[in-house]
Symmetry: C2
Subunit: 279 residues, 2 copies
Amino acid sequence: MALWYEEKFDDKARYSLRVERTVFDECSEFQHIQIVDTAAYGRALVIDDIFMTSDRDEFFYHEMLVHPALVTAPSVERVLIIGGGDGGTAREVLRHSEVKEVIMVEIDGTVVDACKKHMPGLGAWTDPRLQVRIDDGISFVKNAEVAPFDVVFLDGTDPVGPGKGLFNSDFYRGVKRVLKPAGLFALQSESPFYMGDVFLDIQRRLGEIFSAVTPYFGPVPIYASGSWSWTCAGDAIDLAAMDAVRLEVVERDCKYYNRDIHRAALALPNYLRQVLGRR
Amino acid sequence: MALWYEEKFDDKARYSLRVERTVFDECSEFQHIQIVDTAAYGRALVIDDIFMTSDRDEFFYHEMLVHPALVTAPSVERVLIIGGGDGGTAREVLRHSEVKEVIMVEIDGTVVDACKKHMPGLGAWTDPRLQVRIDDGISFVKNAEVAPFDVVFLDGTDPVGPGKGLFNSDFYRGVKRVLKPAGLFALQSESPFYMGDVFLDIQRRLGEIFSAVTPYFGPVPIYASGSWSWTCAGDAIDLAAMDAVRLEVVERDCKYYNRDIHRAALALPNYLRQVLGRR
């Protein structure tokens, strides 16, 4: 008997992967967390019935969330990650030797524990520069008595469940509060085509708080429609200004990202030029 | 009761779209052809249980198959399309006023008739420059007594069913036979990630016949993994040499394609640089 794991992304489309076995299945205080072995993508993390990442395709998402910001930020010494419980974002951040401290604030300790145990390749958990705090990222950026960060990453779920509060203007203002004046905020910003409304809402809200907002694009095969976006926001960002030294290290180690991909990801399709009012 | 149309792409992944109604369902001599109204993508063409194109996302595929070649070919007067029965490729080709004659050789007249009637937005069927021949494209390129073409497009199905013979070296040699010495051959070349083996096989076979082979990349939301590739092959191709006049017209009319997207599509991810042995 073949077992199929069906993602009901919305009431219009479903995506199913054949599953060889379930290795973890638990409801935390916040969400339903499953780790399954799929035939197509290897081991995969599923939260509230949506595929989050897989051993085979995770590099697209994590490299593209992290490196465009870290290769162009004026400084990258202190980095904050909100969410990112699977560890992949921290792992990519820690490839940069200029990074001195990474604070990861993940609301759900169950995700961290499950991924450490069952998807260890995603993390760089033993790196002494990484501090993991099991805490609410929204309160953290609102209340933390912390010195400003050079770069903040938001690596959350879709705008449902505990991730919902990470898609609003209050949270974005909190991020600005903990960011240096020349700092960068990078986040996943959903599918520009399949979830165009959410993508545009994120652009609009960020535009009210930061003076420069730059979306960029790439594939994430396991996500709905396979075509994804991330966005960098800040008051002094220039995603074209790549640091040659930082670039060299990540280009050598990455599976997807390199300087050509970095530039290419910034190209705006005609249908987005129009709705974003650019050129 | 909600009806779901489930694509069994392979034995590892399935993709389902909610269907409001079936508007066409017929088995031709060659294949099973269905046209359905989906909630997510509007009207969609399904051949042998695989989604081929949809009203809502067809522009990604057709613009990216056609314009990189037509904007860079030395001449575009005479164009051959093998397959392309839904009409979308011919429609994009005919946007170029320098094109004087388009011969479309589609094996299955049922696809043409069904799409003319039920998906009319895909075609430019009344353009006097277009000749549709219901014939086998493989024999056509092998036997036709025709003057050479400036550009040949292959717009076939996946390498199963009647499309299988379009993915081999004999067919590619036939294409070269009907192509001008400086002509371009452009084709869809499957998902570079999800169907990496087929993608690489196409690159390899083309490389044995043409002296320059350039793959390029973009999204097609309705296809497996959402991340697709096309390839241009020829003996004298330079996909960076965009013709300013031709570019201007298609940039104005396209929904996805523009000069930034053209350049961006050529960027090779690290995992492909490695397997293709480039840089």
